[in-house]
């Protein structure tokens, strides 16, 4: 399971403040602690508050890499912000460009831009592509799968290795009116999307979004994550500090025979 640590995100008050006051120590601590907790990648999102998003991304990447070699997931919907991070990054261990829709009204070619940036960043650079297009986020299984098929064929056309492709079927908060059908749809979509290419693209979700505004966030997150792992999900952006969640991942992977059982199997992450 490729776990991407979500904590370096300007949406969190302490990170937002650290960006504003250039408090490297807080960011570096979060990087070290998330790595220790089992993050394979660290998500880096400047949030919406920073006036100069490109400058903030650059500063975050530089600050983290001063003390930590864990690969990063540069998280922005704006190619220019990703590009700013890529300018200063050491992508030797890999980097994920997170994320782009298939296309959007204002930019039909946005996915191509992300693929292009990833190709230039090196052989270990990957991209996350959302099953979303200019018509917005699909609600049903079939449209999600249809968009995913377009994503995969676009990647293949450009010679972009599907093993460097993460498809995110977009999880919506379960509490939003009418959205309760979505977790089931996501699972059905994962089943089908994984069959679109050989080797299969990775499947990623931004897990915490699912439980936004609910009273049992950790429980909802970890139960759904275990269900999704059983369907072939192999990556997620998560709170790696959530011990129960990490234990659920280790258990689900063990039960799916992805990790060999041992009495201390929980220590894997």
């Amino acid at each position: 399971m490729i776990l991407i640590g979500e904590r370096i995100n300007g949406m969190f008050t302490n990170v937002k403040q650290a960006i504003a006051t250039k408090d490297k120590k807080l960011i570096q601590d979060l990087a070290a602690k998330q790595t220790k907790a089992g993050a394979a990648y660290l998500d880096v999102n400047v949030g919406t508050a920073a006036a100069d998003q490109e400058g903030a991304m650059k500063w975050l990447v530089e600050s983290i890499q001063e003390t930590c070699s864990t690969p990063l997931s540069l998280d922005s919907q704006k190619p220019a912000v990703i590009a700013a991070g890529l300018k200063v990054i050491n992508a030797g261990n890999g980097v994920i460009l997170n994320s782009t829709p298939l296309n959007k009204k204002s930019d039909e070619e946005i996915m191509d831009k992300y693929m292009e940036m990833a190709s230039q960043a090196g052989p270990k650079a990957s991209i996350i592509v959302l099953t979303m297009d200019k018509n917005g986020v699909p609600q049903d299984v079939d449209t999600r799968v249809a968009i995913a098929a377009e994503i995969v064929s676009k990647a293949m056309e450009k010679g972009f290795d599907t093993r460097r492709l993460f498809i995110d079927p977009i999880i919506l908060p379960v509490k939003v009116p009418g959205a309760q059908v979505q977790p089931g749809n996501i699972l059905a979509a994962i089943d089908q999307i994984r069959l679109l290419a050989e080797p299969a693209p990775h499947m990623a979700i931004g897990l915490s979004n699912l439980s936004q505004g609910t009273t049992e966030r950790s429980l909802i997150n970890r139960v759904f994550l275990a269900m999704a792992i059983s369907r072939g999900l192999d990556s997620a952006i998560v709170d790696v500090f959530d011990r129960d969640l990490m234990n659920a991942v280790a258990t689900a992977e063990m039960l799916m025979n992805k990790q060999i059982y041992s009495d201390s199997f929980l220590k894997v992450y």
Partner: protein
Amino acid sequence: MLDSPGDWAKKCVEQFGADLICLKFDGIHPDKVDKDAAHAVKVTQEVLKAVGVPLILWGCGNDEKDNQVMPRVSGAAKGEKCLIGTVTENNYKSLTAIALADGHYLITEAPIDINIAKQVNILASDMGFPLERIVTFQSTGALGYGIEYAYSIQERQRLAALTGDKMMAMPAICDVGSESWRAKEARLANAPGWGDASDRGPMWEATTAVCLLQAGVDIIRMRHPRAVTAVKNFINQVW
């Protein structure tokens, strides 16, 4: 020659092409010769002096005696980056700590059991022992005596490593020499219809080794020079 471990080791390296020398301290076992730690240390020092190849320092399998002797052996070879073992699920703490302190590599042992193999690796790494300095050992079964179990466990271990299980991604060692020569088919001199005994033994050992190499094993403890030649020949042709 047999009374001089240093000369013996030298011959193994120079004449028979051993890449490593394994000192198996069978003689310290209380039910065998019950030799003391001073003897084991002396042998270790002699061999260290005689050859430049890495050493494997392997206890006798009696926990109590190993815990008494192997720390002294480890200390005598401090800094030599030896492969020392074995540690098991129920007896790992002292030797792991000492191997770490003396800068050695560690052999973790399991009884042809994938789950226990992983468990010992986790236990050792939990004590701060680096995963990249661990070699795993599953008890070896020779041709005709459980090789299919040994083969499938090594294969499973290697496949787990290739699919990303970092607790299973260590090199593996097998004890082919002593296990093969325990087989009566390898040893029996007078066995009409089984072929010449002088060929049969080395062939038994070489076949066991080649089979386990193909399951993904990395280090093979071997006995007969002719078996070594045959296995080296195979390795050079395949890899």
